[in-house]
Symmetry: D2
Subunit: 156 residues, 4 copies
């Protein structure tokens, strides 16, 4: 079975090229800076666009499960913030974002030197935003998709 | 907010061009024909490929919820079968497929003359397959994404 | 492994005894009567209480999957309506309810003569309601839990 | 609307009283001790039973989101381990457990001095186990349910 749906060939989709206004980008960065959990796991912002946010974090031995892979909950932490800020990037100034719920499928062991999460808005409503988050692990210059999230965010 | 993540520009992704062997295609068609629920909702197969199955069904007034839109459970029925057969298309002959679980986000009212579900395999394992299903409604020649599913299938 | 978490001993929880006001009960019944899908699958209301709704439906050969079990999407249809009306039962008059999203785990084959879904509100908010739905199959006077749903509903 | 589904009256269910054999309890404790993430978030085991595991952790300012509440991903980390070990407690010796997928609804802000997660097995299969996880926050001697998880675990 040489079908591999995890290659970019099958999975990638065009990224939005719509840039954020300066004040909205600043708001996202300010909120991210206040998430102490992001600093504790070593996460940083790679890219901000309208409806799409990319975060990255290194492997950390102190955040692992029993086999030395990143704990599924930590993978979720990164994906949830990526999805939340993707949603916030489309909300009017003065809004805040909260996670209503999410579902995560763990596709492969979270093994690698770095992890990268991309959150994208699938449906932007006035109150609710539906987002998708994908997490890749980089191991020896190869990237594999390790988890995918489907999340609902609410504007407050 | 003119960002529209639901346009093909943002949502579409390359479809697999890998065709199915005749015996596997036949097995999928035979199993589909045995799903009485598919006939009851008027569903038919549009396209079979390795790891990807597309189904369609018409609007039916007798399958609606209180506003005359297709019931979320019927949308789910179509998406679940698309995902299940996408999974089965990658399994060795003699296998059968069962749904372990799924999560569905209802993005827009299921209003339209026709509905189209595409199920794709995200991760193909020996026992479990993780699939994604998207459902579009066609209304006056316009297609909109109305639901997205993330589902786990098991080989039996 | 004689542990059986599916027995009432482990799974049952006290049902609410709070009855609905007449006008709210009437609203729920009126909305249910408008769901053509409920009639098509043969569903009826067993019990209405504040935050809890019980529905039932018979086995129907025309709603099955490839093994003759009720299709997972039909099980979902019943559970979704039970959850939606449990949510509506706690909303002020003039409200309507829509499903935002749900996740369903299929625990056992949907085999039996009858099916029973209980939807309960876990968290009642002003805009969103989080609900749980459980579906049992009755086979030869024995009931087994066949599916469990976790769903988010929105007030419109 | 004085209905409160979060009180023990509505939510509690009988806990299993089936104790674990010593070797299985030891295996769960050993695996838990190897989850570095559990130590990093300050989690510990409160109770082990057949099909049910209870974990606790204190509030930690370094694990919060932008409002100073525990990050949804950290709540998930605790719930996921509780569910995983509940599943492992029913598996034969020599097994290991991995999370296939989970869905979490965040019901209330994760505010409090302590957090408590209970993972329970809803369906115990040979390969897959379906579990439910609930997380409570304790604030000023009051406990409120803040999150609920529905998770699928696999035996390896």
């Amino acid at each position: 079975m040489d079908f591999d749906p995890l290659t970019p060939r099958f999975y990638a989709r065009p990224m939005t090229d719509k840039s954020l206004s300066d004040d909205i980008a600043e708001r996202v960065r300010a909120s991210f800076a206040q998430q102490a959990a992001m600093q504790s796991i070593g996460a940083s912002i790679v890219r901000l666009a309208a409806g799409e946010v990319e975060l990255t974090m290194p492997y950390r031995a102190e955040l692992t499960q029993q086999h030395g892979f990143l704990h599924a909950g930590i993978v979720t932490t990164l994906a949830d913030s990526a999805c939340g800020y993707a949603a916030l990037s489309l909300m009017p100034l003065g809004s805040d974002v909260l996670s209503v719920e999410f579902k995560v499928n763990l596709l492969r062991p979270a093994a690698g030197q770095r992890f990268r999460a991309v959150g994208s808005v699938l449906k932007s409503g006035r109150t609710l935003m539906v987002t998708r988050g994908d997490v890749w692990a980089t191991q020896d210059d190869q990237e594999v998709l390790i988890a995918t999230m489907l999340a609902t965010m609410i504007r407050k």
